[in-house]
């Protein structure tokens, strides 16, 4: 576990030094993105409409902050913390190819495709410690700007000047190593095996009758139209 202090914007070379599990502190400009801004970036890139902020070689944070408005174009950051990143995996290809950030900060995990994407574009996924929004909020030196204000406080894009923003840890490095995946596939898998043995629970037995699969998924379509469906139960 090494510790790095990175000044933004960063470079391909600096990103390559980071390994999954390392601790990182960032100084410089970051931009917040959430559900609606991701959708708009995707839409604007497709329609070739200019995006009003530049994140090339920079850092974006999956976050809907709490901001206090002081006067016109002047704000104070109250709380700045990471939101669940798995919601944004579908938007990652257009974001990385279209805008070229080197650092994606969030919490939880990204999709399998994201690992390959980060690898080929030399970018990393950093984990903020979920729930530490008062701590991270106190590291905002200045709220620089607000874009797409029509989305409201949480979903609009905020530009922050950060000073030693951290601790953050490297969740997926640019060699495609994924800390969460290691936790699940190695640590949790082994521990669960032992737990189920101790409780005499068969992990391959179906205790649950309903739902078979969650409604609203591709697997639900498959289930409904397959011969195995037990709809006459």
């Amino acid at each position: 576990m090494k510790t790095f202090n990175i000044k933004l914007p960063t470079s391909k070379k600096e990103i390559e030094e980071l390994n999954a599990g390392d601790i990182v502190y960032l100084t410089g400009r970051i931009f917040t993105l959430r559900d609606r801004s991701h959708q708009r970036i995707d839409e604007y890139l497709k329609k070739r409409i200019k995006i009003p902020f530049d994140v090339k070689d920079g850092a974006i944070l999956h976050c809907g902050p709490i901001i206090r408005s002081i006067r016109k174009k002047e704000w104070e950051a109250v709380c700045v913390g990471a939101t669940s990143s798995s919601r944004f995996s579908p938007f990652l290809p257009s974001l990385i190819k279209g805008l070229g950030p080197r650092i994606i900060i969030g919490k939880g995990n990204l999709s399998k495709e994201a690992e390959g994407l980060l690898k080929s574009y030399h970018a990393v996924f950093l984990l903020a410690i979920g729930g530490c929004a008062a701590l991270y909020g106190s590291q905002v030196k200045r709220v620089v700007n607000n874009y797409w204000e029509d989305f409201g406080m949480a979903d609009s894009v905020w530009e922050f000047e950060m000073e030693e923003f951290g601790p953050l840890s490297v969740g997926i490095d640019c060699k495609g190593r994924n800390l969460s995946e290691y936790m699940r596939k190695v640590i949790l898998k082994n521990n669960l095996k032992k737990i189920y043995e101790d409780l005499n629970i068969d992990p391959n037995f179906d205790y649950t009758w309903w739902p078979k699969v969650p409604a609203g998924t591709a697997r639900a379509t498959e289930y409904s139209t397959s011969l195995d469906s037990e709809t006459l139960d």
Partner: protein, 300 residues
């Protein structure tokens, strides 16, 4: 029957929501302190330290613990010996609107279809009021919960086969709920489990209310339920998920289970998780309108 004015309820709801957003219940903070002390993974320990720093910064600067200040929810238990004079709905709405402005809380209640944002966190039936009733009780109990999204989204509610070993099914469902959620529900969590209570609405509310039990990680009065709680608590802490899924010794701070009668053809099982930043606050309004703050005794 004694009268309690809705203005008293407004004042209490305002204070519950405000304090819950800024300060953890002391026993939750203590549980995180203890987890920090005993953590053997250096990165996990580092994470717990950051959580404790966050708790202190919120307290000193009087800012919310988390940017996701949640959907405000109120659980109200009305005693048979008291009644409310005035509008409970208006009291809760006004309390929420004032807390949103004063703390400030994030504006995040939005129309489910159009996504129009309420500036006050009031609107379209929010905040919900979960009303319960008790005989021979001369006070109103209120739990105010600024319920964030990350852990809430990872709820489970399923219907086990009637013919399977019921206790094993409950354990498997509870363990699956935790292992599936992994780090994204911001562990260590408080797990609430509801079993029985035909229909998901009842089962899920039982699971949610179980999370807010005081004292933290205390056991149910029914020894069979208590045994399941203890087993699930012990086993989850052997998963190694640790703080935020980074790996560590503490994955849950507490496991609480509530039960109600089920259907002979099966009893639904619901699991609800609260992130480490488990924000809730509880008060009793006595029949003479005196207020007792239970989780946050520092409220004036």
């Amino acid at each position: 029957m004694k009268k309690i004015k809705s203005s008293v309820i407004e004042d209490v709801c305002y204070k519950l929501l405000t304090h819950a957003s800024i300060e953890l219940p002391p026993e939750v903070e203590k549980a995180i302190q203890e987890a920090y002390q005993k953590e053997s993974n250096p990165t996990g320990k580092f994470y717990f330290k950051a959580m404790l720093d966050n708790i202190n910064i919120s307290r000193e600067r009087r800012v919310p613990l988390c940017q996701d200040t949640g959907i405000p929810m109120f659980y109200i238990n009305l005693g048979s010996e008291v009644y409310i004079q005035g509008s409970l709905r208006e009291a809760v709405d006004r309390a929420t609107s004032r807390a949103t402005q004063d703390v400030p809380l994030r504006e995040q209640v939005s129309h489910p279809l159009t996504r129009e944002i309420s500036k006050t966190n009031v609107g379209w039936g929010i905040p919900p009021i979960f009303l319960d009733y008790k005989d021979n009780q001369d006070y109103i109990e209120i739990i105010g919960v600024p319920r964030g999204g990350g852990a809430e989204a990872k709820w489970q509610c399923v219907h086990p086969y009637a013919g399977v070993d019921r206790k094993k099914a409950i354990m498997k469902i509870a363990l699956d709920a935790m292992s599936m959620a992994g780090g994204e529900c911001c562990p260590p969590v408080i797990m609430g489990i509801g079993v029985g209570g035909y229909g998901r609405d009842y089962t899920e509310v039982m699971a949610r209310k179980a999370m807010y039990r005081t004292p933290l990680n205390s056991r149910h009065s029914d020894p069979q339920v208590a045994e399941l709680e203890e087993t699930i608590y012990q086993q989850i802490n052997k998963m190694g998920i640790g703080p935020l899924g980074i790996g560590g010794d503490t994955t849950c701070l507490a496991v609480h289970m509530n039960i109600a009668g089920g259907h002979t053809a099966g009893a639904s099982v619901a699991v609800s998780l609260y992130c480490w930043s488990a924000r809730y606050s509880k008060a009793k309004i006595m029949s003479d309108s005196r207020v007792e703050y239970i989780t946050h005794s520092n409220i004036e």
